[in-house]
């Protein structure tokens, strides 16, 4: 019954490899996001999709490519991994709550370590 789920939870890989992180939400939300949280806990948005359409694309290297096969899924593929890509990556989705505000719900995060 998890609302926003991500796989894998942990990912350890070598520099230069290509890896993917998957995200799924079962909340019926139209909008999904990818955030990166660095070692200093700074959470920064990378991408957002609304109904499978890319709407936010912050300044990230083009080695990062999001893909949304449908509005419940938003995957993140990273090519040629670098040491600086090590971080926790959070997926989120947003929708209207019963309280009448638009809240973002975060997934549990994927801790990526590049060696």
């Amino acid at each position: 019954d998890t609302a926003v789920s991500q796989t894998p939870k942990y990912l350890v890989t070598q520099m230069g490899n290509d890896k993917s992180i998957k995200c799924e939400q079962n909340l019926g939300h139209d909008t999904m996001y990818w955030y990166k949280q660095d070692s200093k806990k700074f959470l920064k948005i990378m991408f957002s999709y609304n109904n499978k359409e890319l709407i936010i694309n912050e300044t990230v290297p083009n080695r990062f490519s999001p893909k949304s096969p449908d509005k419940a899924h938003l995957n993140l593929h990273i090519n040629s991994l670098e040491l600086g890509d090590s971080a926790v990556y959070f997926c989120a989705s947003s929708g209207w709550t019963s309280g009448g505000y638009n809240e973002q719900f975060f997934g549990p995060g994927t801790r990526l370590t590049v060696l």
Binding site: V4, I45, S48, F105, P108
Partner: protein, 116 residues
């Protein structure tokens, strides 16, 4: 560039103390300010503030927004060890077309440690 700054960066208190966390912002097209609590995993939502001067309250936590001075505070009274976490402030902005699609700009967080 939109900017959200939190202070202090870290805070160590004892159970029963009251703490005030600060968040100031400089953004264009402000829509709302949100507070999140992050323990070991994902940030969890605490409050959303859109209007100045109206306090939001949930148990021992409360928050208020000042849109003129561009800041918000989060108060926690009678702190408990379970309040130990990173508290994140985020501001939601609109894009040029007036929609926001929920883009949040986060501050760097305040690490709160409550000792028994």
């Amino acid at each position: 560039e939109d900017k959200v700054v939190q202070s202090p960066l870290s805070l160590v208190v004892h159970e029963g103390d009251t703490v005030t966390l600060n968040c100031s912002y400089e953004v264009t097209n402000f829509r709302s300010l949100l507070w999140y609590k992050q323990e070991k995993k994902a940030p969890t939502f605490l409050f959303m503030l859109t209007s100045s001067g109206i306090e939001k309250k949930s148990g021992r936590l409360s928050s208020i927004l000042d849109k003129k001075e561009l800041f918000s505070i989060l108060n926690i009274t009678a702190t408990q060890t379970g309040d130990s976490a990173v508290y994140l402030c985020a501001v939601k902005v609109s894009n040029a077309g007036g929609t926001s699609y929920g883009k949040l700009t986060f501050g760097q967080g305040t690490i709160l440690t409550v000792h028994p």
